[in-house]
Symmetry: C3
Subunit: 100 residues, 3 copies
């Protein structure tokens, strides 16, 4: 069965940034995203809270070009000011043409 190798961009940040990050994802050209509630603690100072939904973990499958653009914007506009984790995983996507 046909699959396409595409970047999966994962972003973990404070829940207060949720709408702004969705807007960045759309603006970079991604066609969708998945969000799960999260909590955590770390060197990036995303604090643990009493509630499991204090942070958000957002995933988006995109073209390589959209992923590069999104990462650049997040690195430039968010990393200096906010606690945010961003990483890319190469995944094999069913019907990958839907995401590019």
């Amino acid at each position: 069965m046909h699959t396409s190798e595409l970047p999966l961009v994962t972003i973990v940040a404070e829940a207060v940034l949720r709408e702004r990050l969705i807007e960045e994802i759309r603006r970079a050209g991604a066609t969708g995203y998945t969000i799960v509630p999260a909590e955590g603690d770390g060197s990036r100072h995303i604090r643990a809270g009493d509630r499991a939904d204090e942070n958000v973990r957002i995933e988006t499958i995109t073209s390589p070009q959209v992923a590069d653009l999104l990462l650049s914007r997040l690195a430039q506009d968010y990393f200096p000011h906010f606690a945010i984790i961003v990483f890319v995983t190469q995944v094999q996507v069913v019907r990958g043409d839907k995401y590019v």
Copy 2:
């Protein structure tokens, strides 16, 4: 320490499909799964909702053969009818013999 490289199949779909997808995972021969509540929006028309548990994100570590079978069935029986995202990540699993 010994690890095995195995496919991790991730499925994102509307929560209403949850039991059917678990059954598909078992029927394909997987030995287990992990589910987290999710929400999202995208080209596959998985809509954002007011509640964080409108969608489900299901993961299963399987043998390559089980992953292929599961992907084929999802592509054939679900993609034409439902909003569903399916992708495979190659991961290094501790005690991987438990999953094949």
Copy 3:
């Protein structure tokens, strides 16, 4: 834009182990972690429950050395006694220097 390839260690276990696993992650030398509520069923006997937060799915981005140490300890001290899933994904991390 500069990214670093680093291991992302994912742990799925019963929620009762949450604080112990956070302590293991810190003790191995990781700088942070992300937790999402989860449920599941599998060969490792992580049971499905009525509540979505019966299990936890914990992620941590670390140096390769910290990942090896963490996996060794989990394999030795947890696998014989508890239902636990541990796998490693190689990911490209923005500002990866923050995690090592």
